[in-house]
């Protein structure tokens, strides 16, 4: 035991995270850990602080207090460290946030070129490979404005994957999509989960949580109410608030 301490170190460790916006406590003392290759799904009503936790992991929000380690690296206010960690942590946003002035291919190549310093050939090959992976290789030369919401979100996922991230963060990736496009994005995410990608997913898609999650966290009012396996979470939740929430959305 303990002969190779780094082999199985947790990918993400959060200790007592607090985030205040002015006088409002968005997150009020959250601790969690995500092991390598595991999928953590965070659910909860809007305003429960679940997105804020996610955005603190790559320092898009600066925590008020508490500590975060990503792949063993302690997140401090040092800008160099933060940029280095962000390159290892892929993020997918609710609103896709593709760069509208660049084609799908260039969207995926940009950060590879200037952050990973890959040459044009290498970045281009990687970009096409990732577009293939998310199932839309034929859209390489299209601008985001010419793509459907589902296609844009898949390009956004490809853009994050092209950086070879160690963790992927998903911030309500299907909430801005028309219903018929949700599945194509969830399928890509399921595929990723099966391939062993470490993922933290904030979502309202209970089907995805049931099928892909190794662990489900229910948050309300800035704290973790319940942390459970997906089977137990959906069939026999421990907490009454979880039950109430599930009853409201699983009608």
């Amino acid at each position: 035991m303990g002969a190779v301490p780094n082999a199985k170190q947790p990918m993400i460790v959060i200790k007592n995270l607090v985030k205040q916006f002015g006088r409002v406590d968005a997150v009020n003392g959250v601790s969690l850990r995500v092991e390598q290759g595991k999928v953590l799904v965070i659910i909860g009503p809007s305003g429960s602080g679940k997105s804020t936790v996610l955005r603190c992991i790559n320092h898009l929000e600066v925590p008020t207090s508490g500590e975060i380690w990503v792949d063993g690296i302690h997140l401090t206010h040092n800008h160099k460290d933060i940029n280095a960690i962000r390159a290892e942590v892929g993020m997918v946003f609710q609103q896709f946030n593709l760069f509208p002035h660049l084609t799908a291919l260039d969207n995926i190549m940009l950060a590879q070129r200037i952050v990973r310093r890959r040459n044009e050939d290498e970045a281009g090959r990687m970009a096409r490979k990732q577009l293939e992976r998310v199932g839309i290789p034929e859209k390489a030369d299209n601008y985001p404005g010419q793509l459907s919401g589902g296609q844009q979100q898949r390009v956004a996922i490809a853009r994050a994957l092209a950086m070879n991230p160690k963790v992927m963060l998903f911030d309500e990736p299907t909430s801005a999509l028309d219903p018929e496009m949700i599945k194509e994005v969830l399928d890509v995410m399921l595929e990723l989960a099966h391939e062993g990608m470490t993922m933290v997913v904030v979502t309202h898609e209970m089907g995805f949580a049931r099928n892909a999650a190794d662990e489900v966290i229910f948050m309300d009012k800035g704290v973790i109410v319940e942390q459970n396996s997906p089977e137990q979470f959906f069939s026999s939740p421990r907490e009454e608030r979880t039950q109430t929430f599930l009853n409201q959305i699983l009608r």
Binding site: F99, P100, H101, L110
Partner: protein, 287 residues
Amino acid sequence: MAATQSIAKRTSTQSNFVQWLSRLPWWLLFLILAGIILLYQFLTNELYSVILSKLTQGIVTTIFVTLVAFTCAIILGLIAGLGRVSRNRLIFNLATLYVQVIRGLPMLVQIFYVAFVLTPAFFTVLNAIGMALIPVLGETNFMLTSNTQDVTLLARAMIALALAYGGFEAETFRAGIESIGRGQMEAARSLGMSYVQAMRYVILPQAIRRVLPPLGNDFIAMLKDSSLVSVLGVRDITQEARLYVSASFRYPETYNTLAFMYLTMTIILSLGVKWFENRMGKNGRGS
């Protein structure tokens, strides 16, 4: 019954014709007519053709001042605009100070101030530094030997215009940058780009596309304001007109010609800006 119907029909065709008439670009027809009359004068009236050739001597200066000052203003404006959105308090305050001072002063006053206060002050400081550095650089160092007269009034005029318009363009660039959604910066940063890289590759390319039409309009405004350099005796077309008038007292002929020259340039340019806006609107690749 039939009579009222036919009256109604006639009034409707009449009102169609009236509508068609009222939709004609009368302002353009009027300008074209005035232009034709003036062109006729240039060709047939010897006084007009003399005035036109006199004023034309200043056209190179007018265009040169406009182009150089506007180019410098764009560079200044971009730097100050980036300063206005900076989170660094020192940079933000310096940029805001510049913009507020510029916006609060009449352009004519700025031109006098740059020409006769800032330029001499600059050389007073420079000479003082040169004096202090005599032990190092000797008594003939350029900081000691240069003086205010080394900077021509043309150069001072262009510096003043560039500073003035730089302040306006700073706000144009700031608005352009702020019009790009926060998500763009977040996406770029989440991929590991630094703030500078995100600005350079993601925010600015989009912001600059958006501010091109207002920049075009400011270029036209700069062309008009370049006439202010005549107060320093710089011989642009306005100054040539003033010189001619003071000798000949031919006020209407001279100023008709001057107005004709400015209007020709500004109308052509504004049509160009409009064409460019339309073209951008057509192949706009989303916002």
